[in-house]
């Protein structure tokens, strides 16, 4: 029996994470993510987990990485200013292949911005915030129910591909309460990272078996001794300047995501089958877009919504089949045009792409999207 309960987006993030097996949280509370830390502080001790309020966000991500190395499923939550501070260690987790989930409940503006106002200004940062070529998976939910189920999926992806996952929430969904249907435990797949049974000193801790994508390491403290570093390393885990070893490592890091695109990418398509105008959006913005699409259809406008749930990698292969039919794409996001660049790249000038965005902390309203749809419909008919 599914249970329908009233839950806030930030609370649903914690409940989903706990269901996935999260037992360690370290963070520095920051609006609009604070309820995630608060809920973890209440819930984790009851699940024999650990909650630590750290001195800042650099320490928070460092503690999360340490806990994950010791075998715990670990999470931190922050907003823009804290997300910026975490970037160096997110890169470390990506290179050292340490599973963890970083929740960013986005707020408006650069620097400390407008803490209680919604935004999606960290879309590009979630891809390129840390330096160097590195693999990234980022996921953005648009309902409280989806926060729950996608939090579970974030942990699964993190464990399976041994990589940090950015759970890119926004203030709209984080601070909203709605009825959530909690899925039955047996219907939820829970994935745990692969382990080896090698004890003692391991000189091949970063070795990857044929047909697998990630190394099998025992958690620290369970009898296997190995080295972890943020320097490029060979199979022994020790730094190397060998270009062949560097190439092998870097190519595997990138291809463990790109080769498993189908497993990682998830989108929602609404009335896209015959759509001539598509609004592309993600996260909380989709709520206004949905209303606009339903309204446009009432007037006979063939409008549809294409919503990446996995926002990185960008789900271009899902978009391709629609391009030959689409006459116009509108990208709607609460920033100055970030996913817009990915859409323009994917559309390769075969479809006109326009943009509707907000950067003042207010919301894009359904009637504004509808107006944009009507404008492009008018242009199409000229």
């Amino acid at each position: 029996m599914k249970k329908n309960v009233l839950m806030q987006g930030n609370e649903a993030c914690v409940e989903g994470a706990l269901k996935a097996g999260m037992r360690f949280f370290a963070g520095y509370p920051i609006t609009p993510s604070t309820e995630i830390a608060e809920t973890c502080a209440v819930r984790l001790p009851r699940e024999r987990g650990v909650f630590i309020q750290m001195e800042d966000e650099i320490a928070s991500i460092a503690a999360v990485i340490g806990a994950s190395v010791a075998g715990k499923k670990a999470m931190t939550a922050t907003s823009g200013p804290g997300f910026s501070l975490m970037q160096e260690n997110i890169g470390y987790a990506a290179l050292a292949e340490i599973p963890c989930v970083i929740v960013n409940v986005q707020r408006c503006g650069p620097s400390t911005g407008m803490p209680t106002s919604p935004s999606q200004g960290d879309y590009m940062q979630s891809r390129w915030g840390t330096h160097g070529d590195h693999p990234v998976i980022a996921v953005s939910p648009s309902t409280v129910s989806e926060v729950y189920t996608e939090a579970v999926r974030c942990f699964n992806l993190s464990e399976k591909y041994r990589t940090p996952i950015i759970f890119l929430m926004d203030e709209i969904v984080g601070h909203m309460r709605e009825g959530v249907e909690i899925p039955d435990a047996e219907t939820l797949e829970i994935i745990n990272r692969p382990y080896s049974d090698v004890k003692g000193i391991s000189k091949t801790c970063y070795h990857v078996d044929e047909g697998e994508w990630v190394p099998r390491m025992l958690p620290f403290g369970e009898g296997q001794r190995y080295n972890i570093t943020g320097l490029l390393h060979d199979e022994s885990g020790f730094p190397t300047n060998d270009h062949a070893a560097a190439k092998k490592l870097m190519e595997r890091l990138m291809s463990k995501i790109s080769s498993n695109y189908e497993d990682i990418v998830r989108v929602e398509e609404l009335l896209m089958n015959d759509a001539e105008i598509s609004v592309i959006c993600y996260g909380g913005t989709a709520r206004a877009v949905k209303e606009a699409i339903f309204e446009a259809r009432k007037y006979g406008v063939k409008a549809g919504m294409f919503r990446p749930i996995t926002v990185w990698p960008f789900p271009e292969k899902e978009l391709y089949p629609h391009l030959s039919r689409l006459k116009h794409i509108i990208v709607a996001e609460h920033n100055n045009g970030q996913m817009l660049l990915e859409v323009q790249r994917a559309a390769e000038r075969s479809v006109t792409v326009s943009f509707i965005g907000k950067i003042d902390g207010t919301l894009i309203r359904p009637e504004e999207i509808l107006q944009k749809i009507n404008e492009v419909q008018h242009d199409k008919n000229q």
Binding site: N4, V5, L6, T31, P115, T116, I172, H175, M176, R177, E178, G179, G284, R287, A288, K290, E291, L363, R365, P366
Partner: protein
């Protein structure tokens, strides 16, 4: 109930208007309705202007930030002054009895209830004003069965305050019944 009802709860940070909106949303879920609840406030929570809202519907609710409210609760003059314009002719305003409603208010139905005074003097604790307000709104609008509202209130009040909050609930109901008649 109309198919979609937007209730806006406004007051000063610390009065508990967000909790009132959460209680109404909880009752909606218990009653099998669709609901979305959210709030907005500035960086300074206590003492600042605070507004929360609950949308209740029989259909899925997508866009979550309404401009116009079908029902407006105002516990301070500042919050009433800011939000009375975001009502329509058919809106219901429930204001604390100490407040004055500006002449150009679009809403036609106004209830002035001594919510804060009742909380302080009858129930004995000002903090119960939000439960009084929840009970009054529910009674005035005939939204949910009483037992569902009581259950929703009990799910969101601190342990040990049940008797006090149930007393507040009864007082809220009484204020509304009196205003209705």
């Amino acid at each position: 109930m109309n198919n979609r009802c937007v209730i806006r709860f406004t007051g000063s940070g610390g009065q508990g208007v967000i909790l009132t909106s959460v209680i109404m949303a909880e009752a909606a879920v218990l009653n099998g309705n669709k609901t979305v609840q959210s709030q907005s406030y500035g960086p300074e929570v206590r003492g600042g202007l605070c507004q929360a809202y609950t949308i209740i519907s029989n259909e899925e609710i997508w866009f979550s930030k309404p401009e116009k409210a079908d029902v407006l609760l105002a516990l301070t003059q500042a919050s009433l002054n800011k939000y009375y314009r975001d009502t329509v002719q058919t809106s219901v305003i429930i204001a604390d009895s100490g407040l004055s409603v500006p002449g150009d208010c679009p809403a036609s139905k106004l209830f002035r209830l001594p919510i804060l005074e009742t909380a302080e003097k009858v129930v004995g604790r000002l903090m119960t004003a939000n439960v009084i307000a929840a009970a009054a709104i529910n009674t005035l609008l005939d939204l949910f069965p009483d037992e569902i509202m009581r259950k929703a209130v009990k799910m969101h009040i601190p342990a040990g305050t049940e008797d006090l909050d149930m007393k507040a609930y009864e007082e809220g109901r009484r204020l509304a019944e009196k205003a209705k008649s």
